[in-house]
Symmetry: D2
Subunit: 488 residues, 4 copies
């Protein structure tokens, strides 16, 4: 692969500037003129800046940039070590973002790598376009989002059988210079603050679904493309002191409407190759799940830390049931970390791209998803009822009773009333409000559902070898020594 | 017990009028002049009106009133049937309140009954005062709250050992006409919309803690009493359509400061009888837990209903994993209902007051608390990612893309876009935001913690009989026929 | 219903005598000449005697006999109280049998009641035959077993589609005086010690399956009927002191082969009425599950008792994690008891027969089944590693080191070495060997599988009412007051 | 470290021969003259031979021997790779032993390595003795067992406070040429088939416990040493066809009595250094837990394989609930494998010895222990009720009904009756009888209890760093960028 040296890394300011274009965004039915100054959405944009700011931060520079000088996000992983470095970068940036997912280069590069891994299958002219698009993004240090999930209509029907033919995004016109697409994607993360939108199919398809087998990339400011931003997890009316995690930053998803959008040929990566649709859809999700388990690490660490901090503040660190819950939370967090790192170390290199161990990635994601609600329960249990009955900092400053209130809030560990309130506010934000709910729903649904993860695990397991072993145990195979090869 | 006929049942309007007095309430550091018109707190007050409105509603009248003509809440339960009727009333009123706890007569009467059950232990003059206070509340159809949980300071120390002597509410002066108390209570529910506040000790005490062994009742508008309302679960900025459960109604807890509050003798129910403090504390909590499991029923029903509705809307009602989760949710809900009703039916009548079976009540409460987070997970799983990525009704009405959006949101079950959005908003409100978080924290901490429930269960179990049975099984007892008596 | 007075209650000796007939039983391929003296099977027979001995035991007499003077097992339940009495009888007899299921009149009467409940559907001549057979069993105080589960072959095919036409029991000849049947049933409990075998269909059937829709009753000693006894849970080589539960008693299941067995008309209860097969199959199972949850109570009590005894013996009763496990075990046991009793109390009387609440019975059974392995884990955890590394009583008596060994085994609670060993042996027997395994597999598979219970729960739940409630919460129904009726 | 070349590797026959000495073993109170021919214990001895036979098996040779030519068990791990090789060897030998632990070099070398890691702390003359003893074992290819767990008496008291001074093994005499010890150890695995017994303290000790701080090694045939073998998991009366796992092989634990046993100085490794007792006790257990999680892998693989085989045999491979259970079983097995391997890869090299990551080892062990009973439940669920109601091979061969029985047992997957019976017998052996119970109790109690594992996890976690992170999230630390270092 030829590579142009990056003209420059972008600064956060350059990133912000690049978002001030003709993009069509609506928030609660109102057109957003400038996403960087919108009272709510600007928090999402500012949050995304982290990906650019890291490269300017001396301590992060080595992690944020690869040897070739461009952002490490764009470095195609060639080995388990590269994957570990990518995972560490994602973990560090999410931690810097106070455990809120940071998805402005991660998810887009997941898609770029998945497309590249499919190049051999898709063939020309797609392979060349994919590579050129990759270089374009890398060399201009772009922010990319991915639109994949269709609205789906009746889930028991394939795209071409839907009563509404637009239930899945489809090609409505093929022109000599490109294609025209119509439909809508939901759950499109970080689209309002991206430069480019990569569009991928959401499922396997058959011959009748050829018009639905479509993948491409377009600038977010493309005519006909409308981004309807969800107000969920709004920062509106939240003070930084009461919502230390969710007031100053935001994730935003859009319902993304393609109203006969034209895509020039150079940006079309699949247009009718229905037999490859499923593999591309899965390929992206599998790569993306490794990103997912990496960015979950700061969240599970935060839950352990919150539980420890609450236990110490409340003077409960030695209570038997608290210790038990702490041990379980640590197991939860460290199992996720171990599986994530081990999946990287066990990567398979396919066509030069290192793919983390698919089964381990899915096991990690599944265990995270299945366990998060229990973890939230444990943190709430240790933190106590003040999570939802707290007084406010305005009360602490009130002349009539503020001083008394501060004194009453001093806890066993001599934590001052103010500090105790900060601890409570952080844990309330983390576990009980829209932020906690967002994380909980993401755990279950983002990057594929719990059931999808189980399917993958079942598909990845070497069932015949396992059956052979069981048959040997049952005396149904010759009783020779079993293979020494490590099992799975 | 002599009983004065109720002069009248109060209407909701009379109840509202009664709250317009000199009570000292602060919200975010600002004095609340009239709780019935305060932009946020009025939703709590209006919610509490349900208890009065029910008596005016023909279908509810039989349930809401007892034979003697006053509110059934004040009817001292004499049998399992009375407890079932009380439970049904609490369940019905909470359902009418859309699963938000309704605590304006329930909790107060729990305290009244617990005090009456303790009358024999406390003796005169307390017994007479308790009875007169009960009649006063009943005959004037009053709203009462209960302040029990102290701020506690260092939990490893008893009240008299605390560095801050006011960490537990205490008597600072004994006068001929009454007592003066100082301290603070937290988690005081529904105090802003109560007429009377009943104050109870929070734990067992020793001889040195005599000044902390104090119980009494005072009007909420008593001088020196300050109610600092928590803003958690604020209705501010929430539209009824997006937050159908939590926008139009609210629960409110206060941190309640007693700044040298005078309590006249007639209202003092315990003042130094430290040896009875623990029994009174527990007696109230045990009675209150029966109320708790009764008012949780509409919540668990709502979770089942929400899961069913989401499954039907999403066309997933026949999916294997969805059916499995539905079955588990039904088990969760119906086990709670069965245990609640069975606890009532197995009541013991003590001094004329029917006490629900303590072990069963605690088992019910514990299983509810341990299972709620898992139940929320199941509902979110079935409902899908739109819970946190939804567009809004403003978007549906937007001329540029609203019609398209509505069409895209039509689901498998032919649910219209608008209706689908309503379903999503309800489930988002129920499970992911401050309302869901409030229910989750309440599950764990309200009416005593999970650990307290385990302690009670262990204490209630007939350990020696169980040991005898195990010893008999082990051949360590004479091998005669075991008793036919039903076991526990 | 006309009723003949019982000529007499049978004694255990009469019962034993009645089993010495021409029945064809094989054990490990060898013909069993006399089941009452067979070295292994006699323990099953002796165990079954309990049902007869109880009636002779003064303390049990009231429970064991109904007012009409015959065994209470035969009393058709007319009310919740009758069901509670039946449940108490089953519980008491199982406890007397040291938690091993006692199924010599229980299961048979479950089938008799299910047949009677179906009489109206089956019509004459079946209804009359069923009633006469019921009176025959009752008046002669007979022991009955039930053969229901077919070998099934390929579970994805209905009976008439099976490659092997005998995969389900079927009518191979219809004669004027009766029918001839062929096939095999598995899991037939307690058949070797029964007088009569009641045969029921195992599933719903269609028109092509008419020959498989067959129900009847025959003496166990009928020609062509072969009982192949499973040796699982053999008493062979077990000493009473090491296996206090499973050495002196046994359950036995047979694979039951019908080799062209003739059934006279008077004993045929269904012969081709395929549309009623499913209802009869389910009707029996549902009634039988109530028996099941009743006979599980002594088992769960034994687990609690064993845990308490181990905790006390090991000096761990105050350890935090042990207390936690004890609380959970108590919850497990007492929830099962509460659900069982509440299901009886909520019985519906259908055609004069009281049917326990089907949903609650299934919830009880499901929770028992899902929780047993965890309960076994807790008991093993508290009991310690000696469960599988114990020395023996022979060692305690050994001159060279026995005295030393006894001294070393004295535990914290001053339990002697001998007593400690007895405790260990009982818990080992209860939780780790074939007895524990038997209970574990029964929990999952007996009286219908876990999945069957979930299906029933889903079917019983009032889904539409729940949906209506959820729709009302979501604002999709008129916002009037909801019904006051108690929910489900 | 100087190293003498091994004179020779021992053959299995040489190993057997070496066990025919004066060792004092009792089985059920009777002296065992020759352990290699005892009807029950010989199965344990033969099972242990696997460790020697592997080295003779061409496919295993590379795994079984290290570069220096001696058994790889004796190779001191210097790196994560060495630990992976050791883990692979343990896994392979346990698989060859049909999932029953083969602990005849594993456990002993764990102790040797732990002693060597303690050499610097213990100093001379102990360090030299330890090294010489290690070389002795290695160069003579010996089999070693470890006696650690004392009988403990009252667990709330330290050794010197026990009413019975022999509740912990102690030095009763110090002579110029050695020490004399008295006491008893329980749960001593594989001692009857070992050459040498290594004795270690079981807990931390104080100054008063100096006589209890004792470690040493002695030949099993030392005078005064009595091994009382537990009969649990006896092979007696079991046929290989019905018990394919547990009939031909056995583990055996002894209660090990030290009746004033003399230990020469050269074999004493600790004699009074009470302050090092806890570290040595833990050091061994921690090293041994890595062996434990390695030898559990074939067991969890067997559970997955058994579930798959049962699902296929029963024609249930596509059933939704079966797939769900299979996915969970795979997660259980593969998480254990990933944690085991990752713990090796994250080893710390301390004084030249590679120590697997302690936290990950404990998390792996804890998750295995907590999950095994659930895994057994799933396998039993999929396998069906025939697990405990099966007919026998004798029945299949019975002329009267054998042919019919075979035909009835043919399953959906066309598995023959014989093969189906073999599958059932294997799963019954694996999950329901003494073998399954043995594995279940071992899971909880062997290599330290569940609670001990939680303690270690809590101790290993970097609590202060986690607290700092939580404080930063709460705004209680300067809001600078957090460290990029990977977290724990």
């Amino acid at each position: 692969m030829t590579r142009t040296d990056p003209t420059t890394l972008r600064t956060a300011e350059q990133f912000l500037e690049s978002l001030r274009d003709d993009r069509t965004i609506y928030y609660r039915g109102e057109r957003v003129e400038d996403v960087t100054t919108h009272p709510v959405l600007r928090h999402a944009v500012e949050h995304a800046c982290l990906d650019y700011q890291m490269a300017e931060e001396p301590e992060y520079r080595e992690l944020a940039l690869c040897d070739a000088g461009y952002s490490r996000y764009f470095e195609i992983p060639r080995s388990g070590e590269d994957l570990l470095a990518r995972s560490a970068l994602i973990e560090a940036s999410t931690r810097a973002g106070k455990t809120l997912v940071v998805l402005i280069k991660e998810i887009g590069t997941d898609a770029l790598f998945a497309l590249q891994a499919m190049s051999a299958v898709l063939g020309e002219p797609y392979a060349g376009r994919i590579n050129r698009f990759y270089e374009h993004c890398r060399d201009n240090d772009l922010a990319m989002c991915v639109a994949q999930t269709d609205v789906k209509g009746d889930r028991s029907l394939v795209p071409s059988q839907q009563p509404n033919p637009d239930s899945y995004l489809r090609i409505v016109e093929r022109r000599s210079d490109g294609i025209v697409v119509r439909g809508a994607k939901i759950h499109t993360s970080a689209s309002v603050n991206a430069n480019e939108m990569i569009v991928l199919p959401t499922r396997a398809m058959g011959p009748d679904d050829a018009d639905y087998a479509v993948a491409f990339a377009i600038p977010v400011a493309t005519p006909g493309l409308t981004l309807v931003a969800s107000p969920y997890l709004s920062t509106k009316g939240k003070s930084d002191i009461e919502y230390p995690l969710s007031a100053p930053r935001k994730m935003v998803e859009t319902t993304t409407i393609f109203d006969d959008v034209f895509v020039p040929n150079e940006r079309v990566f699949m247009a009718g190759e229905y037999s490859a649709a499923g593999e591309l859809a899965r390929g992206f999700v599998e790569f993306h799940r490794f990103t997912a388990i990496s960015y979950k690490l700061p969240l599970v660490d935060a839950l352990v830390g919150a539980a420890l901090l609450a236990a110490r503040t409340n003077g409960l660190e030695r209570a038997g049931h608290v210790r038990d819950k702490l041990a379980q939370l640590i197991c939860y967090a460290e199992t996720l970390r171990a599986l994530t790192h081990h999946a990287a170390e066990r990567a398979k290199v396919v066509n030069g791209v290192a793919i983390p161990d698919t089964m381990l990635v899915n096991i990690a994601k599944l265990q995270f998803a299945e366990g998060l609600h229990k973890a939230l329960q444990f943190v709430q249990d240790i933190a106590g009822g003040l999570l939802v009955t707290y007084p406010t900092f305005e009360d602490l400053d009130q002349p009539a009773y503020g001083a008394a209130l501060k004194r009453y809030l001093v806890s066993a560990s001599h934590t001052s009333g103010e500090d105790r309130l900060r601890v409570i506010h952080m844990i309330t934000d983390l576990t009980t409000g829209e932020y906690g709910g967002y994380q909980a729903v993401l755990a279950i649904h983002a990057e594929g559902s719990i059931e999808a993860e189980k399917l993958t695990i079942l598909a990845q397991y070497d069932r015949e070898r396992s059956l052979e072993y069981a048959r040997w145990l049952a005396g149904l195979e010759p009783q020779t020594w079993p293979s020494v090869a490590v099992f799975r």
